[in-house]
C-alpha cells in the first residue's frame, strides 16, 4: 500500500512543479467550469464507487475511465475498551462512464470490482472479492453556463451549473450476512445485496480559472433478501479547484475540498442495529492532468472528524487514482 502513497505524492508534486512553469495566463482561455459528478461513497466496502471519490473528471463532460480506490480502516473486534483492533483494507477497481443521452441528459454508470481484506489480531486474515454493486444514474442539467461570446454583453463573470440526478444501485455484489455479525465493521461486504435509490444534486460555479463545486447525494437503501437493511446515506462535498494550462500539458487542475458522509442506523430483520449509525468528514487534496483526450487524477482523503459505529470503526485514509478518456 505504501507504494501507492509514494506514487501519488510524487505525482502530485510533479504536477505542482509543472504547474509552476506557467502559472498565470491560460493559453486557451476556455471556461474553467468544473463540477462534481456522482459521488456515492460508502465507508463500507460495499459502496458502488467506494470511498467518496466521486469526483468525476474535473473539467469535462463525458468520459469512460478506470478508477482505483483504496480505503484504510480499523475496526474494534470486541465490545470492550481493550478489545483488539482489526486492520481493514478496501480496494475497488472501477469502470465508470458518463455518457450523453441528449443535450441536457447524461447517463452515469459505475461498475466496481471489490477486493477487500482484513487482518485479525491473532494473525488470521479474511478476504472477500467480486463484482460489486452496479450504479446507474441519469443527470439532468437545470442550469448550464453560457459560453462567452465576442462582445462584453455576451460574457458572464460567473459560470453557474446545476444538475439533478436520480438512479439505482443494483444488488450485483455478493452480500454475506455472516460478515454483519460480531462486533467488527458491519460494512465488510462486496455489496449491500439491496436495490437502492439515489438522488443527487450538484452545483458548481466557475470564475476565471477557479471552480467551486458543491454536491450532495442521498442514497435510500432498502432491505436485502437476507433481511439486512443498510442505513440510508447522505454524502456531501465541496471542492475548490483551479485550472492551469501549460505548453506540454493541456490542463492541470489541482483541487482541495471537504467531503462528508452521514449514515443512518442499519436494520436487521426490521430491528435497528445499535452502533451502526455515524458520520465522517474528510479533507481532500488532489489533482487532475489532461493531455488531449486523456485525463489522469489522484485524490487523497484524510478524516478531519469522525464518529463511525460509536467509535468501533475508524477511517484512516483513502486514495483514489483514475484514468479517463474524454468522449
Amino acid at each position: 500500500m505504501k507504494i501507492y502513497i509514494i506514487i501519488s505524492l510524487v505525482l502530485t508534486m510533479g504536477y505542482c512543479a509543472q504547474a509552476e512553469v506557467n502559472p498565470g495566463q491560460p493559453i486557451n482561455p476556455e471556461n474553467p467550469f468544473y463540477k462534481y459528478d456522482y459521488e456515492d461513497c460508502d465507508f463500507c466496502g460495499c459502496g458502488s464507487t467506494g470511498g467518496g471519490m466521486g469526483y468525476g473528471t474535473v473539467g469535462n463532460e463525458n468520459f469512460v475511465g478506470l478508477r482505483y480506490i483504496y480505503q484504510s480502516y480499523k475496526s474494534r473486534d470486541g465490545i470492550f475498551n481493550n478489545s483488539p483492533w482489526v486492520d481493514e483494507h478496501f480496494n475497488t477497481l472501477q469502470l465508470w462512464a458518463k455518457l450523453p443521452l441528449t443535450e441536457k441528459i447524461s447517463l452515469t454508470a459505475l461498475v466496481p470490482y471489490q477486493f477487500h481484506n482484513r487482518e485479525f489480531e491473532d494473525g488470521q486474515t479474511q478476504n472477500i472479492s467480486g463484482l460489486g454493486d452496479v450504479s446507474l444514474l441519469a443527470f439532468y442539467t437545470l442550469v448550464k453556463p453560457k459560453m462567452d461570446g465576442m462582445y462584453a454583453n455576451q460574457q458572464t463573470k460567473y459560470k453557474h451549473s446545476l444538475e439533478v440526478g436520480a438512479g439505482l444501485k443494483l444488488p450485483v455484489g455478493a452480500y454475506d450476512r455472516a460478515n454483519n455479525e460480531g462486533s467488527v465493521n458491519p460494512s465488510f461486504q462486496v455489496g449491500t445485496g439491496s436495490w437502492d435509490y439515489i438522488a443527487a444534486l450538484n452545483y458548481s460555479v466557475g470564475y476565471k480559472n477557479w471552480g467551486l463545486g458543491v454536491m450532495s447525494t442521498y442514497t435510500l437503501k432498502t432491505e436485502n433478501k437476507k433481511e439486512y437493511h443498510f442505513g440510508d446515506q447522505f454524502t456531501y462535498g465541496v471542492n475548490l479547484s483551479k485550472v492551469y494550462n501549460t505548453l506540454k500539458v493541456d490542463r492541470i487542475i489541482p483541487f482541495v475540498g471537504l467531503s462528508g458522509e452521514v449514515y443512518q442506523e442499519n436494520e436487521s430483520f426490521g430491528l435497528s442495529v445499535p452502533k451502526t449509525a455515524g458520520s465522517v468528514l474528510f479533507g481532500r487534496l488532489g489533482t487532475e492532468v489532461s493531455i488531449k483526450k486523456i485525463s489522469a487524477g489522484v485524490n487523497f482523503m484524510l478524516p478531519v472528524t469522525q464518529n463511525l459505529n460509536d467509535g468501533g470503526v475508524e477511517a484512516r485514509f483513502r486514495l483514489g487514482l483514475h484514468l479517463n478518456y474524454t468522449l
Binding site: I79, L168, E181, G182, L220, F269, G270, L271, K275
Partner: protein, 268 residues
C-alpha cells in the same frame, strides 16, 4: 418543450423515491416453530476485557487486582416477549456454570418457542427449592459444579460466585491472595438472587432464526458495586453473614446485555 422535459424528469425522480418508500417495517413478521437461543457471557472488568492472571485492574476502592478465577452460576431462565408473555425454561435444565478459566461462557437454551423476546430474568446461584431436592435431584449439574470449584461440600452447598486472585492496596503493599466465595451456606442463609435485564434489540426466535444474546458481565461490580467490599479489610470472604449478602446483591449488578445478534444458526 423544455418545461415538459423538466417536468418529466422530476416526475421520474418522484416516482423513484415514492416507489422506494414501500413499507419495510416488518419486524413483527410471523415467527413459527422453535429454535435455540444462545447466551454469551463476555466477562470484563470495568469496561476492559477480563484477562485471567495477566492483567491488573484498579477498582474504585483503590485496590489493584489480578484475577485468576471468575466463575458463577446462572439459572432459572425466563424469557419475556413483546406482549409480556413469559416462557419459563424447564427448571431441571436451567442451571449453568459460567467459567472464564474453563472457557465456559456460552449457555444454550434449547427448543425455545418462536417469538420476539424483549427481556429476560434469571437467577444468580441455586435456589433453595432446587437445593432442597437433595443431591439426587441435582442431576448432572452437581458434577459440573464440582469440576468447576463451585461446591464447598454438599452440606455447605454451592458457591454461586468463585472470584479469586491477588491484590495490593495502599494498606497492603505485597500481593496478597483474595478469595470471594459467595453462596447460600446450606439452607441457613439464602443468597440466591434474581436478575432482570432488557434486551437492547429484540431476540427473534423461529424455525429459521436462532439469536445470540451477548452479555457484558462486569466483575468489578463484585467489590465495587452497590456496597463497597474492601479486600484490605477482609481478603477471604466465604461464610460471612454481613458481607456475603452484600456481595450477592453486588453480583446482580454485573449483568448487562450489550447486544443481540439475530440470524440463522451458524451465522454467528
Amino acid at each position: 418543450m423544455k418545461f415538459l422535459q423538466k417536468t418529466q424528469f422530476l416526475f421520474l425522480i418522484l416516482s423513484l423515491i415514492l416507489a422506494s418508500c414501500s413499507s419495510d417495517d416488518d419486524a413483527a413478521q410471523s415467527l413459527d416453530g422453535e429454535n435455540d437461543l444462545v447466551i454469551e457471557f463476555d466477562n470484563s472488568f470495568n469496561g476492559d476485557d477480563l484477562l485471567l492472571g495477566t492483567s491488573t485492574y484498579v477498582n474504585g476502592n483503590n485496590e489493584t487486582l489480578t484475577i485468576n478465577r471468575f466463575n458463577y452460576i446462572v439459572s432459572n431462565f425466563i424469557l419475556i416477549d413483546a406482549e409480556g408473555n413469559e416462557y419459563v425454561y424447564p427448571k431441571d435444565d436451567s442451571y449453568f456454570v459460567v467459567s472464564e478459566e474453563e472457557k465456559m461462557t456460552e449457555v444454550t437454551l434449547k427448543n425455545i418457542p418462536a417469538g420476539e423476546y424483549v427481556s429476560m430474568r434469571f437467577g444468580v446461584g441455586v435456589d433453595q427449592e432446587k437445593y432442597l431436592q437433595g443431591a439426587a435431584g441435582q442431576g448432572d449439574f452437581l458434577q459440573v459444579a464440582e469440576a468447576t470449584n463451585m461446591m464447598w461440600s454438599w452440606q455447605a452447598g454451592y458457591k454461586f460466585l468463585n472470584f479469586e486472585g491477588t491484590f495490593t492496596s495502599p494498606e497492603v503493599a505485597t500481593a496478597t491472595d483474595f478469595k470471594i466465595h459467595m453462596g447460600s451456606h446450606g439452607s441457613s442463609l439464602d443468597n440466591y438472587k434474581e436478575v432482570s435485564v432488557n434486551l437492547p434489540t429484540a431476540a427473534l426466535v423461529s424455525d429459521a432464526l436462532s439469536p445470540v444474546v451477548h452479555f457484558a458481565v462486569d466483575a468489578n461490580e463484585v467489590l465495587d458495586g452497590n456496597t463497597k467490599i474492601l479486600l484490605s479489610e477482609k481478603a477471604v470472604v466465604m461464610v460471612d453473614e454481613v458481607k456475603s449478602p452484600q456481595i450477592a446483591t453486588n453480583t446482580t449488578g454485573m449483568f448487562r446485555v450489550d447486544h443481540v445478534h439475530n440470524g440463522e444458526h451458524g451465522d454467528h
